[in-house]
Structure formats: structure tokens, C-alpha cells
């Protein structure tokens, strides 16, 4: 079994604050973290490897600092970590990102062998687009299973998997041939603590570098220039003003509030 997980390093969105005077994000001191959804994808793949054997590779496209997120995946038990980093990717939108990751993944297949299961997070918490996974799956022309909450069965010999996903109305269980592409929910599993030998092994594992020098790329599909969407402007949302604070005892407050609510009473 070979699993490949697309992981992203993101600023911890819950700690990003806005400077309303300048209309910009305050990013100083905001830690960069592994996008929370991918942690669950790594956990799932590693558990599967422990059960049926094989290996787990992780790939990120990003700046050199993104190695931190890759190292975190290694310490969770991933076997190989790849950083795809190059100037040509700067400013990529989701279409260009899925292209870059597709080519990076093809290189990993060339180096490490065929992949049976591809994983991505449901969405990245900085951009929240949830498009990159579906984009890569489409480029590979393999079945896509979004919102994965349970990997019921994986059969590498017979090349199929049974998986449960969330839908608008509940859940559905599907059978898909492998290779297939999964985007995962946080409820897929509970993260576990890695045993010490894995941590030691992770510290010794080198992160492999990919760039336009060793990956074949069509430059006409890379970076800002070849991204169909462009950011025209960015601004901070209009801030609502804090309104009236009601005063008095609990009884007084209930009376005042009930008057405000009276027009709504059915």
C-alpha cells in the first residue's frame, strides 16, 4: 500500500487578528501550523500501513519554512516527505496549485512507485476553498470521495476501497476502485501520540526537495500569471459597532429584553 497525502502549512486562522486602522491582518506572532484536516489524513494512512504494510508519503507545495509541517507529518509516522518549492509557483490560485501538486505527485510516483490512496484535507483553514483536492483528482482522472468520515475497507490486492462520506442529508457508503482520491473530515479519527522510535526516525529522515529542476512542468500553467483568478482587492470586513448594554438586575434585564422582543412574539 502506498498512500500520498497533500499537506499544507497554514497560519493558525483562529489567532489572526485584524488591524482595523490599517485594514490589514496582524500576522506577527501567529504560529504556522499543519492544516488540521491533514493531520487526520496522515493518522488514517499511518494506521492503515501499520495494519496492512506499505508506506506513507507526504507532499506540500510552499516556501522552505513549510518543512516544519512536513516534519510534523514524519513524526506522526509518515515515511517520506517532499517539499515542492519554486518561484514559478508564486501566486498560484487553486487551478495552478492543483496543477503543481499533480506534477509533484507524478514525480513521487516515478520515485516511490504507484500510489493507491491519495488524501487531502477537506479544506485549508486559510483559504477555505476546498477545491485543491477535487482539482488534483480530476487531473489524475481517478474517483473522488469528498468528506470522508470512515475508511471501512481497503483491499490492495483486489484494488478497491469502501468508504463512508458525509452528504447533505446524512451519510453514504461507496465502493470505489483504487487508486482513488479522498478529502477528509476531522471526525475521520482521533489523533494518537506517536511512539518514541517514530520520533527518532523522523528526526533522521531527510526532506526531499522538488522544483522545476527535477519536476517536468508546463510553465504556462504555473504561478500568478497563469492563474485564472486574480485578487482585485483585499479589505477588512466592516466592523459592527457594539450596541447598547442593558442595565439592571436579572429581572430588569428580562423585562427590557422582552419589550425588545415583543414584535417577534408569535
Amino acid at each position: 500500500m502506498h498512500a500520498l497525502i497533500f499537506i499544507k502549512q497554514v497560519p493558525d486562522a483562529s489567532q489572526v487578528r485584524v488591524n482595523y486602522e490599517t485594514g490589514t491582518l496582524i500576522r506577527e506572532g501567529v504560529p504556522a501550523i499543519l492544516n488540521p484536516f491533514e493531520a487526520h489524513a496522515v493518522e488514517e494512512a499511518v494506521r492503515l500501513r501499520e495494519k496492512i504494510g506499505g508506506k506513507v508519503s507526504v507532499l506540500t507545495m510552499g516556501p522552505p519554512q513549510a518543512t516544519d509541517a512536513l516534519k510534523e507529518c514524519l513524526s506522526m509516522g509518515a515515511d517520506n516527505a517532499y517539499l515542492l518549492s519554486d518561484r514559478v509557483f508564486a501566486g498560484s490560485d487553486t487551478l495552478a496549485t492543483s496543477y503543481a501538486l499533480y506534477e509533484g505527485a507524478r514525480k513521487i510516483i516515478e520515485l516511490e512507485g504507484d500510489v493507491d490512496l491519495f488524501f487531502a484535507g477537506k479544506q485549508a483553514i486559510d483559504g477555505d476553498t476546498a477545491q485543491t483536492g477535487p482539482g488534483i483528482a480530476t487531473r489524475f482522472g481517478i474517483p473522488l470521495i469528498t468528506y470522508l468520515i470512515k475508511l471501512d475497507e481497503v483491499n490492495i490486492d483486489k484494488k478497491y476501497a469502501i468508504a463512508t462520506r458525509l452528504t447533505e442529508f446524512g451519510q453514504e457508503t461507496v465502493k470505489t476502485p483504487l487508486p482513488a482520491f479522498f478529502t477528509v473530515e476531522e471526525t475521520l479519527n482521533e489523533l494518537s501520540y506517536a511512539p518514541l522510535p517514530w520520533l527518532i526516525k523522523a528526526a533522521q529522515t531527510e526532506i526531499k526537495r522538488l522544483s522545476s529542476e527535477n519536476v517536468e512542468l508546463d510553465r504556462n500553467q504555473c504561478g500568478l500569471k497563469h492563474s485564472p483568478t486574480k485578487v482585485k482587492k483585499a479589505f477588512t470586513p466592516e466592523k459592527r459597532q457594539r450596541g447598547e448594554t442593558l442595565k439592571g438586575t436579572c429581572n430588569d434585564l428580562a423585562k427590557q429584553a422582552s419589550e425588545i422582543l415583543l414584535p417577534f412574539v408569535k
Binding site: P11, A13, S14, V16, R17, V18, D93, T94, L95, S98, I125, D128, T129, A130, Q131, P134, G135, T138, P143, L144, T146, I162, T167, E168, F169, G170, Q171, E172, T173, V174, T176, P177, S227, P228, T229, K230, V231, K232, A234, F235, T236, P237, K239, R240, R242, E244, T245, L246, C250, L253, A254, K255, A257, S258, I260, L261, L262, F264, V265, K266
Partner: protein, 346 residues
């Protein structure tokens, strides 16, 4: 297998606004009509027509409603293989139709299905896709669609354009726009599409479906939402929020922490990873007001918040701030309202 055809690279050949009408078992999603309503406003600026497109086992009966909300044409693709949503056949069929008819703008609801579908179709069409837009306008100079969306969990807004590629694609969450029927609806034209696809060609099979009874609550239907957070303390305490909601003719909801603690089902979560709502009245009880919660409710007309902590960020967006223990305050409020109701009806 479906041959999706070859996309026309000349952007000047693309015209009209198209909306994907999502349905499950023949039941259309409200968000599709919200998008048709928005499309009317955009079409007026562009002086163009509006088309709806739907794929399923049986969808023709939705035409009437699509026309009511503004579609001039309704393209349908009906076949047994489309009884249940599956990414690959829907992606290929829809891509084929879009390549054939060349809409300038294509809008899809940001539901689980719509998100799954839009990302794959945009990749097939090699065009831009802007997710979860909350505002859409036509740039009067260029005629481009300007799509504004929150990023970084709502801390920042970005206006995105797709200047050179067509169609300009965008998803919108349910409840962001309002669905308003046309005053004088006209009967449109129904156009049937076909594809050559057999069940044997589709590799993914659905083995089992579990419909959860709470699964499809649409919070955006309600004018009043009473929401609770971790501060409500227990699942039982949510009963009082339900009672309050009943009195006000609304419904109840919760923060993500309330969902995680099992007080509220996920289907009733408000916020970045839940539903976006803009009711006339939003009452927040024991909710701190994390940015991911605020993005889902801060455009409500009136916000009343109850929190023990006077510095809770929820107060920064509230019309009325009540610094009090919600567990004491809500029962008192319910009593008051019941009394007032008696006076009102006497």
C-alpha cells in the same frame, strides 16, 4: 463514456448567466433559487439571459419553479444513472453541457454536493472558481464579475476576478442571498440534453445511504434564530433555547463547541464550517464570538447576546448586550414573554 468536447478558448463567444439547480430525489435545493434571484440582478447589468441546468433521474418538474425565480431557459439531463449524485458522471455531463453552450457566468450552491462538483468541473474547463462568495457585482467598466469572499476564517475579505477565462465560476453558500420570486413570471423553454452513459461505465457504486432525520435543517429559512454555545452547559439546557425559539416563531442553533460537546447536532451549527445565516433576529447565549462563529451570523439585522463575560467578543457585534448568566436569564425572559403574549392576545 461521456465525451466532454473541446472548450472554445475565445472568451467573446461566452454569454448569459447559468445557475446549477441542485436536487436530491427530485427535491430542489433552496440555494439554487437564491442564486437565480441574484442572477436576475446581474443579468440586468449585462443585458443577458438566465438559464438553469439540472441533472438527475427526473427533474423536469422543477422547471416551473426555475422560471418563477428568473430562468428564461431550463436545460435538463434526465437518466437513471443520475438517480444519485456521484462526482464523475455529474462532472462529465455538466462539463459537456457548459462547453456546448458557453455561459459567461456559472453559479453553484456551496453545498456539500456543489463544492464537490464545482471544483472538478472548473478543473475540466480550466477556468477560475471562486468559492463561497458573499457579494457579487458586475464591474461596469469591464463587465467582469467581481466576487467577494471571506478568507482567513472571515478576518479578511477578498474581491476576486476571473478576467481572461470563461465561464466565470462561483459558489455561494445557502442563505447568503435571498430567494425572491419574480413579480410577473414567464414561462420559459425546457431543453433536453442527452449523454451516452451506462451504469457499467461508472466505477463508483453507492452501497448504502443513511439519512439522518436532523440532516437537512435549513437555518436560513427562519427569521429568528436562538443560538447557544458552550456556556449553556448541557444538552438539557438547550431545551430552554428551543422554547424561546418557539415563542418567537424561530428555530435554535449552536456554536461549534456546542456541537462538539453534543449539545447540538452538526446540522444546526452556525459559522465558517456550519451554516451562514442572516435572520432578522439572532440571539446568542453563552457564545464567546470567535471569528469563525461571527462570519456565519454577523449580518443578522438585530443581534442580542447574553454572556457572563462583559468582554466577550460577541458583544462587539451585538445590537443589545446582556451581561448575565444565561441559565438564569433565559427562563425569566421566557416568563416575561409569556405574560406579554397573554396581554397581547387579550
Amino acid at each position: 463514456m461521456i465525451d466532454i468536447g473541446k472548450k472554445d478558448p475565445d472568451k467573446t463567444h461566452y454569454k448569459d448567466i447559468w445557475v446549477f439547480v441542485e436536487q436530491t430525489n427530485g427535491e430542489p435545493q433552496q440555494v439554487s433559487f437564491e442564486l437565480l434571484t441574484k442572477a436576475r440582478e446581474l443579468a440586468e447589468k449585462l443585458n443577458c439571459k438566465i438559464a438553469a441546468v439540472s441533472i438527475g433521474k427526473s427533474v423536469e418538474h422543477i422547471a416551473e419553479e426555475a422560471f418563477k425565480y428568473g430562468a428564461d431557459k431550463f436545460y435538463i439531463l434526465e437518466d437513471e444513472v443520475f438517480s444519485d449524485y456521484r462526482t464523475e458522471p455529474f462532472r462529465d455531463a455538466l462539463s459537456r453541457i457548459l462547453i456546448k453552450y458557453k455561459p459567461e457566468i456559472f453559479l453553484i450552491g456551496a453545498t456539500t454536493q456543489g463544492r464537490d462538483l464545482s471544483g472538478t468541473v472548473a478543473t475540466e474547463l480550466k477556468t477560475g472558481l471562486t468559492a463561497d462568495t458573499t457579494q457579487q457585482e458586475i464591474d461596469s467598466e469591464t463587465g467582469n464579475l467581481m466576487m467577494t469572499r471571506p478568507t482567513f476564517g472571515g478576518s479578511l475579505m477578498a474581491t476576486i476576478i476571473c478576467p481572461d477565462d470563461r465561464p466565470q465560476m462561483s459558489t455561494v453558500r445557502p442563505g447568503v442571498f435571498k430567494a425572491i420570486p419574480k413579480e410577473t413570471p414567464q414561462k420559459g423553454e425546457v431543453i433536453r440534453e442527452t449523454v451516452d452513459l451506462k451504469e457499467e461505465d461508472i466505477v463508483k457504486k453507492i452501497l448504502k445511504k443513511v439519512v439522518s432525520n436532523e440532516g437537512n435543517i435549513n437555518l436560513s429559512f427562519y427569521d429568528v434564530i436562538v443560538a447557544g454555545g458552550k456556556g449553556m452547559g448541557s444538552k438539557e439546557n438547550f431545551k430552554m433555547l428551543e422554547n424561546l425559539a418557539d415563542l418567537l416563531g424561530g428555530t435554535w442553533a449552536g456554536s461549534r463547541k456546542a456541537v462538539e460537546l453534543g449539545y447540538v447536532p452538526q446540522s444546526r451549527q452556525v459559522g465558517q464550517t456550519g451554516q451562514t445565516v442572516h435572520p432578522k433576529l439572532y440571539i446568542a447565549c453563552g457564545i464567546s464570538g470567535a471569528i469563525q462563529h461571527l462570519v456565519g451570523m454577523q449580518s443578522s439585522d438585530i443581534i442580542i447576546s447574553v454572556n457572563k463575560d462583559e468582554n466577550a467578543p460577541i458583544f462587539d457585534v451585538s445590537t443589545y448586550c446582556i451581561v448575565e448568566d444565561a441559565l438564569k436569564f433565559i427562563p425569566k425572559l421566557i416568563d416575561e414573554l409569556k405574560q406579554n403574549k397573554k396581554i397581547k392576545t387579550q
